[in-house]
Amino acid sequence: MKTLIIIPAYNEASVIFTTLKELKAFLAKAYAADILVVNDGSTDATVDEAARAGVAVVTHILNRGLGGAIGTGLAYARKHKYELAVTFDADGQHEPNDIPTILEPITAGRADVVIGSRFADPSKEMPLDRKVLLRISNLLTYILFGAYTTDSLSGFRAFNKKAINGIEIKTERMEVSNELFSEIKRLKLRLSEVPIRVIYTDYSRSKGQTNTNGINIVFKLLLRLFR
């Protein structure tokens, strides 16, 4: 099936080449897929590094946040008629080996959207502050959007054609992770979770959800709910 790996990237010049090289090496031997880097208005050499790795790049002329970048990736997938799409972090915290695992529930016809859950893997201990933030986010996702998940903030997700064509992302920034669940419910998509491995480095932690932007996310989500 025609598959697109969407990699949102904002100022990831120091790591993106390695991430793409490893991803390409895996795809060359195990799974046929195209790679798209959505350069979200980076001010460093992210575009050059991605181009050096020989992958397709689309560039936001302004930084629009994670939600904006994922939305662009899905719009690209719709435009080029992809049947499957996977979102994958640029910072190297995801394992390319997990791509077939995350796609399996879709190819087997059991799911429309699959979340790669970090919480389902007991072998990798998540830092405590991350665990607390994640629990709050999961609860909020359940209260606001009525969808229960063990990892509402996972950046590793897979979508089938129905999801690619139907999902409309309205939030721009990190709250997109929660909003996706609202779309899953609105479109009555079948949701599945698979355990994934994550590699927490100081770099990946500094690039992901910061603990202090939690309040901002809650505010934005409430604003959208009550508007």
Binding site: K24, A56, T59, I61, G68, A75, L223
Partner: protein, 118 residues
Amino acid sequence: MVLPIQILLLVFLLFAISRVYLRAREGALRFGEILFWASIFALAIVGVVDPKFTNFLAVQLGIGRGVDLVLYLSIVLLFYLIFRTNVMLEDTRHEITKLVRKIALEEKKDKPHKKKKK
């Protein structure tokens, strides 16, 4: 007796109403918005000219003093306006994102990198 604060407030409120009139003439405000702002400022003028009017309203609503009623209503109104402004800001952000996305997809001329299936 007219107090200096009444004159100052009256001048400001007349200025505010003149702005509503000018924006309405330009077509920058919708009918509902004209009605909303004109009513707010007109009520404020009544309250400034005849403070007993606010006292009368306050008593009807179970609040002691007219000035308290004005404060309560002002706070509620300010909260609501901040909320509306935030919503408008979010909508504007969303429109910008759509524009940025359209430009990004149109500028992408290269075909996606392909790998042969093994």
